[in-house]
Amino acid sequence: MSFRTIIPFGPQHPVFPEPIQLKLAVEDEKVVEAIPGLGYVHRGLEKGAELNDYVKNIYLAERVCGICSFIHSWTYCSCIETLLQVEVPPRAEFLRLVFSELSRVHSHLLWLGLYADAFGFESLFMQCWRVRERSLDMQEAGGGGRVILSTCTIGGMRKDLDEDMRRAFIKEVAEIRRDFQQIMTPFFEDYSIKKRTVGIGVLTKEDAQSLGAVGPVLRASGVAGDTRLLGYGPYREVDFEPVVEAGGDCHSRGKVRVREVLRALDLITQALERLPEGEIKTNFRGKLNGEVFQRMEQPRGEMLYYVKAGSNRSLDRFRIRTPTFANIPPLLKMLPGCDLADVPVIVLSIDPCISCAER
């Protein structure tokens, strides 16, 4: 006869950089149920956006999440561009692809580091973050900020890449690839990592689809679901196919992200080599009219924006559905049946971004 105990996991926990609470019902060492407690990072951003002028909301949209801030600003700008019927110059679209894939590289490297730290590989954590600094340097050189760039604006981009910088970027991408290839082997082959991750936190293909998993969590369960396949922006003009792994466990989720870093570096090189000449910004005027949905692929999965135009330069409704929000039900499916010691690894394996999810 085993006792059922409830263990609070979080909100302040060494594994999480952000606060989320999971109440874990355990019997002996086995988790039987997980009850999430959210709201520690709720900032009321959607309501805040309705009080502002729509141009000022770019800054707010970037601060939904500091990790994937560029893609948030791109999605918001693309919504407003649809409402204003502004055509974005092709050069700006390609620059947006470069920065969004750069933010994917830095987000995945950040996550791989935290993931390594979760199963005790501190040196691997440091190595991942060392490589990540190179991508941040690129963002700073091309965009102006290390993590929050403020370079995407309605109608295009604020800053252009000159020819020298374009060549320097291509070279730097090759060096990031070389550095990363030196440290990525443990995620595939290391015995201890396999011991901690293979067969842990399994999400079957059917569960992934029925619970609405998105992003790397979905792709690690053998489903080739990726919003970039819709071909928004310049994605229809570059060679792209999603990374898929079949295992559905923590190890597969790690492998998907390692391979996505390489895929993203490849996309950046392609975009920089094909970068069209021309303007980087279209001027716009007029009033917002109507409503729009926009889906884009974040490092963590599909994100959905809904913008409804209001009178007098403000928005009537601003709604964001972020990937972590969609990935919490699959997480609650993965947890029951696992050991208490595996909980940090499983929770991290969905790459929880609580700031996104709670806004």
Partner: protein, 151 residues
């Protein structure tokens, strides 16, 4: 005792309700390029071990209690640093219905660092300034206990 505390401060990081920008810069300080271990500082998960508390983000109604809890669990002497403009005054979210304002509404703050997000150099500066405060507080604490024992 006071010298060794100043040479090896343990740092605790809590995200009160930030957008992650400051958090990842705080963690970046602990990694090879910026490396706060040069100053003897190391990141720790347990509030009871920590000397310096780095708070990012404004506080909302739910994180207020958690933050106070963490602060009360830390042993004296302790220093609190507010990282980023949100932790200082509310920043870009100042209009929000759910936020109370800067971290100083909940707990006493010793060091303020602005920026959205602040650069890692600024965060390192906050830790170094925090260490100075820690030394001062340690001395005052010693003087206080000496008076108490002699009195």
């Amino acid at each position: 005792m006071n010298l060794s505390r100043a040479r090896s401060p343990w740092v605790l990081h809590y995200d009160a309700s930030s957008c992650n920008g400051c958090d990842i810069e705080t963690v970046a300080c602990m990694t090879p390029l910026y490396d706060i271990e040069r100053f003897g500082a190391i990141s720790i998960g347990c509030p009871k071990h920590a000397d310096i508390l780095l708070v990012t983000g404004t506080i909302n109604h739910k994180s207020l209690r958690v933050l106070r809890n963490i602060y009360e669990q830390m042993t004296e002497p302790k220093v609190v640093a507010a990282i980023g403009i949100c932790a200082t005054s509310g920043g870009v979210f100042h209009q929000s219905y759910n936020l109370l304002g800067g971290v100083d509404k909940a707990i006493p703050v010793d060091v303020y660092i602005s920026g959205c997000p602040p650069r890692p150099e600024a965060i390192i500066d906050a830790i170094v300034m925090g260490v100075e405060k820690l030394k001062k507080k340690g001395k005052e604490g010693l003087a206080g206990s000496a008076e108490a024992s002699s009195g």
